[in-house]
């Protein structure tokens, strides 16, 4: 077969490009690789990336639309025969659900009253932002998803992202109308988690394998096969209690997690905007009084005297 004809054409033969320019492009590529490492990505490059993904988001969405429709054809026809039966079943469940809904509303009201009484501020994770995935490259260097929602919709960097089954990752780059989600399986992913049953803490570490591993477990951690793993919220960046997966040992005896989110392709996701709880900033007078408090505590330890019961007492004692 001849690609483009059986003979060479005069207009296309002898095409040469500047070697200097080509070498310069080689060097630029190498410099970019050195400066765009995931661990130390500059804000300028990050905003450039976000801008380009914003521009490309509509094109990717358009490219994915036919396949998205195609993937729904099979389940649609397969489910037709069961629809009537499911419909009846769902009506019955709806009636039962009404009872639970009333109970949930009642409990919500009760909780609000308790929170007001205790002056508790619970993190707001109720508002969720739905988005389609626009890009899902499973490359060897990064495991991420591009989703069709950005700062304009309220998505922020660090926000957790879930599909219908569980956590898939967190937002690492935000554009106006698109965001990039770093998956839990990526090499750079670190999420503090815990076992739902025993509250045993660990860090979920991605290693590009299908099952991320659990690191930093204590020696006698109370963990069993099949334990439900949820986010612990210890980093203050993610809310507590988001479903992650099930604990299981691998062949080497290390703990890994079978992710809930793997039960289906990541097509439609929800971003949960989350305001992290910031640590309290000590005011200046308290800082100045700290050495006094420490000295008092040390004296208390050494001489058996009780240390001041609270910072308030310490601060009050320091005033003239």
């Amino acid at each position: 077969m001849a690609i483009g004809g059986s003979s060479r054409r005069n207009d296309e033969s002898g095409v040469r490009f500047s070697r200097t320019f080509t070498v310069a492009l080689f060097l630029i590529s190498i410099v970019l690789i050195a400066f765009d490492r995931p661990q130390a990505r500059s804000p300028a490059l990050a905003s450039l990336r976000a801008g380009i993904t914003d521009l490309s988001a509509p094109v990717l969405d358009l490219a994915a639309a036919p396949v998205r429709g195609l993937s729904n054809i099979g389940p649609y026809w397969r489910n037709q025969a069961r629809l009537a039966e499911e419909n009846a079943d769902l009506r019955q469940r709806l009636n039962e659900t009404r009872y639970w809904r009333d109970l949930a509303l009642q409990l919500r009201d009760q909780r609000e009253v308790y929170e007001q009484a205790l002056n508790v501020e619970s993190p707001a994770t109720q508002n969720r932002i739905g988005a389609w995935t626009l890009g899902d490259p499973d490359g060897p260097f990064v495991q991420s998803r591009l989703i069709g929602a950005g700062t304009r919709q309220g998505v922020g960097s660090g926000d957790p992202v879930l599909n219908v089954y569980g956590l898939i990752g967190r937002v690492v780059e935000t554009g106006n109308v698109s965001s990039r989600v770093l998956l839990l399986t990526d090499l750079n992913s670190r999420i503090p988690v815990m076992a739902d049953r025993s509250n045993a803490r660990a860090v979920l570490v991605g290693d590009n394998s299908e099952y991320p591993r659990l690191d930093f477990l204590t020696r006698n951690a109370d963990l069993e096969d099949g334990d439900r793993i949820v986010t612990s919220g210890d980093d203050g960046i993610m809310p507590r209690g988001l479903p992650v997966g099930q604990a299981q040992r691998d062949r080497q005896g290390r703990w890994r997690v079978r992710l809930y989110s793997d039960q289906a392709p990541v097509d439609f996701v929800w971003v949960f905007p989350f305001e992290p709880v910031l640590p309290p900033e000590p005011d200046r007078p308290a800082e100045e009084e700290m050495p006094v408090a420490d000295a008092t505590a040390d004296a208390g330890d050494a001489g058996g005297l009780p240390a001041p019961a609270s910072a308030e007492e310490t601060s009050a004692g320091g005033e003239p």
Partner: protein, 171 residues
């Protein structure tokens, strides 16, 4: 001596080249898997660059290869420069073998594409591993490489469909 036809600015072909490169990038990065499983998407941007640099080399200067590589990196969320370097190195070496104009016979073209793949994959793997600070898994790259090698004939026929295919591969 250039023919009168050659003096006309080939705007149509240029537009088609640009559109094909954009489409290749879009389909490469878009979520096209219908079900969970191995991603069998071939390296569409590299295939498109290679075909155009064979058929119409003057439309694919190094800066175009670089820009396509950078866009590939951005759209796939990878480190900037990895695919740009891989594409530049592999396609420049492929070109330097025959600077007076590459052959158009399909057999040698396919072999040349395999050579390009054999260069691009290790370069991308090495650059990517350097960027992430540890050896990257090679399996996804090899799967993409095999898919690209196997799908290249079909891809080539689609891209050059307007040209004569007499005496072509397999006939």
């Amino acid at each position: 001596m250039r023919s009168p036809v050659d003096t006309r600015p080939p705007y149509g072909l240029m537009v088609w080249t640009v559109i094909s490169l954009i489409l290749a990038l879009a389909f490469y990065a878009a979520p096209l898997r219908i079900a969970n499983g191995p991603d069998l998407m071939p390296m569409l941007p590299l295939m498109t660059l290679f075909i155009w640099s064979t058929v119409r080399p003057r439309f694919i200067p190094p800066i175009v290869i670089f820009v396509v590589g950078i866009l590939n990196d951005v759209l796939t969320g990878g480190v900037l420069g990895v695919w740009a370097l891989a594409y530049l190195v592999s396609l420049t070496i492929a070109r330097s073998r025959d600077e007076d104009g590459p052959t158009r016979e399909f057999g040698p073209v396919w072999v040349r594409f395999l050579v390009v793949l054999a260069i691009a994959i290790p370069v991308a793997w090495a650059a990517g591993s350097l960027a992430i600070g540890q050896p990257a898994p090679i399996r996804p790259l090899l799967i993409e490489g095999v898919a690209s090698a196997l799908m290249f004939p079909l891809f080539a026929v689609i891209f050059v469909r307007r040209r004569s295919l007499r005496g072509t591969f397999g006939s």
